[in-house]
Amino acid sequence: MNKDGFDQFKGSQDYVTSEALRNAVNVAIALGRPLLVRGEPGTGKTLLAHSIARDLNKKLIVWNIKSTTKAQEGLYIYDTVQRLNDSRFGDKDVSDIKQYIKLGKLGQAFASEEKVVLLIDEVDKADLEFPNDLLNELDEMSFYIPETYETINAVQRPIVVITSNAEKELPDAFLRRCIFHYIEVPDPSLMEEIVNVHFPKIKNNLLHEALTAFYSLRRIDNLRKKPSTSELIDWIQVLIASATPHEDISRQVPFAGTLLKKETDYDYFVNNYMKKKQASSAAANTSGPPQ
């Protein structure tokens, strides 16, 4: 494979990736385009950026998006109120506008001398028009500050990772500029690898029982929020800490609250799933195979 001269992401020690994801990351880096990552909550979208930064030894800049975030804030903020205040009470020379221009996260990533990883986290939290406002900036990796007649150009095109929970649909024009990857909930063998990374000393039968219970929970269609990787990791941690005997795990599913976060899901689990399970196991114990 001829990929010389390019940063090759292989997945860091504590972050196991699928082949498809590694490929998508490398394509995004090589083409200098933003990588848009989607997937169920808890599949490690945000951690991906951290992992890329660690693996490639780059600085990570995180821009957390909230519902009130405006695209402009990511570029720069012109602190007019401070300037007004200084003009009245301060001794500073207010004619130098530059000192009132503060670069936002995107601006910092462009201005950085070395290549950085920029994480734009949960882009779908912001207003519908937010992604559209960033189109040009992400395309050309530069923007203009009219107040100082300055253009900020990316010294090194940053590696941009954008995560989305699909709470809002993103506009087509924005999508067209991105490399896209959908992180699925890992299949059992990949999941085993992931758990092993987090708990290197985990006993085989505990791991096996936990995964069985986890995937059978995921098969319930009525759950509003199915458990995913991060919940499984938490759960296994509890199981290890409480020293639950492994034979109880898939039968009783202890500490299910760690896996199911919604009240309705938990109720459904207790009232329907467990009862059915107990009934069928009781039947199996007393009367042998069903007639």
Binding site: T80, N85, L128, E169, D172, Y182
Partner: protein, 389 residues
């Protein structure tokens, strides 16, 4: 290079654009890929922008690169199925005759032809390849000579991954998408100044400061918030099944719109009777009277349903489709109550207007303004909801 693949994707309704195609070409020219497997992931990452299209991508990939690996596999599956005598035992004499009437070559040829013709996933029906149908090809079907396709395990080669089509469930061939609905719902807005005065009004501050001969004077103002409250009532009855997805889109758009002051939703079955329900299974009921008592008349009400039911269900006491519901007021009376209590109500009907010539649909349409549940209809309905009375 691969230009036909671009058109194959287009044909399968994957929204690819020239920009993305050029990006793929750029990546290819940099010598990024060494095998088909790399190409599968590379092209998918660059060209496909939603997991909803992963499945169509898989289908297009299969079709375009079929010449490379696939036919032997498919043929293999079919042959092995036919070779298994148990499968033949399952057929009745009549069916066996039917199957025998088609020679194996013919069958394969036909399969090839249909694979080519078929442009989308298909469930049910008696011709296309898909699930739950009676075509000879597909899976979970009822055709006696049906050949189960797909679902083989393993993985590794791109063709196999494409063949697994594991993204089938993410697929959505939709006319309306959540974003469009959300944008439409944004029209439901009445901005009021509310909350503490904590926003600096820059223009007025500058103005006041100038008047004050340079002495700073801050002018604060209240934040503007949307004052619209929304009540969504949805029909979850059997005849609404085909529109379940459409309704869930509307629901998720309304639910995730953060700009409403309050958002409430209830379900009903065919028509509103004595109770409305918090869940689709209609276990968690709330009295309709209670809702009418507790919700202010300024809630904007959207009812969603096909309005299609037996006449008795609408106009009779105890007419509810479930006898145990024993409604003491006829459905139409309840609807009138809603229309009278709330100042702004609309009914959205997922069926196209050409099916509206039915007694119950017409009657409901007289009580509540009815619009089709399409983007245009939604826009009209929202206009109706926002006008001042």
């Amino acid at each position: 290079m691969f230009t036909d693949f671009f058109y194959t994707l287009k044909e399968k309704k994957v929204p690819v654009s020239i920009t993305e195609w050029m990006a793929l070409m750029e990546a290819l020219s940099k010598g990024y890929i060494s095998n088909l497997n790399d190409f599968y992931y590379l092209a998918r990452a660059i060209l496909v922008k939603s997991e909803a299209y992963y499945d169509q991508y898989d289908v297009a990939f299969q079709e375009y690169f079929r010449g490379i690996e696939a036919p032997p596999e498919i043929a293999e599956q079919i042959l092995s199925w036919l070779r298994d005598p148990i499968n033949k035992m399952l057929l009745s004499d009549e069916e066996r005759a039917l199957l025998d009437s088609m020679a194996l070559d013919e069958l394969l040829e036909e399969l090839e032809k249909r694979l080519k013709e078929q442009t989308e996933q298909h469930d049910g029906g008696d011709y296309w390849i898909g699930r739950g149908g009676t075509s000879p090809f597909g899976h979970s079907g009822e055709h006696p000579g049906g050949i189960r396709m797909g679902g083989s395990g393993g993985g590794g080669s791109a063709m196999q991954i494409a063949e697994q089509r594991q993204f089938r469930n993410y697929r959505s061939d939709l006319t309306l998408d959540v974003r469009q609905i959300e944008v439409a719902l944004k029209g439901l807005r009445r901005l009021d100044h509310t909350g503490p005065e904590d926003q600096l009004d820059l223009d007025k501050t500058i103005d006041a400061t100038c008047r004050n001969a340079g002495e700073l004077e801050f002018i604060w103002t209240r934040d503007r918030k949307n004052a619209v409250k929304l009540l969504l009532l949805m029909d979850a009855g059997g005849s609404m099944e085909p529109f379940a997805h459409l309704c869930s889109l509307l629901f998720s758009a309304a639910h995730s719109s953060t700009h409403f002051k309050d958002f409430q939703y209830y379900y009903f079955h065919n028509c509103v009777y004595d109770a409305l329900y918090k869940d689709i299974e209609r276990r968690d009921g709330v009295g309709t009277d209670h809702i009418l008592r507790t919700l202010e008349p300024d809630y904007k009400v959207i009812l969603v349903g096909d309005a299609w039911m037996a006449t008795s269900e609408l106009i009779d006491m105890y007419g509810a489709i479930y006898y145990y519901e024993r409604n003491h007021k006829a459905g139409i009376v309840r609807l009138k109550q809603i229309a009278e209590h709330f100042t702004h109500c609309v009914w959205l009907n997922p069926e196209p207007p050409r099916y509206w010539n039915h007694p119950t649909v017409l009657t409901i349409g007289k009580v509540l303004p009815m619009f089709e549940l399409t983007l245009d209809g939604l826009h009209q309905a929202i206009k109706k909801l926002i006008v001042k009375r």
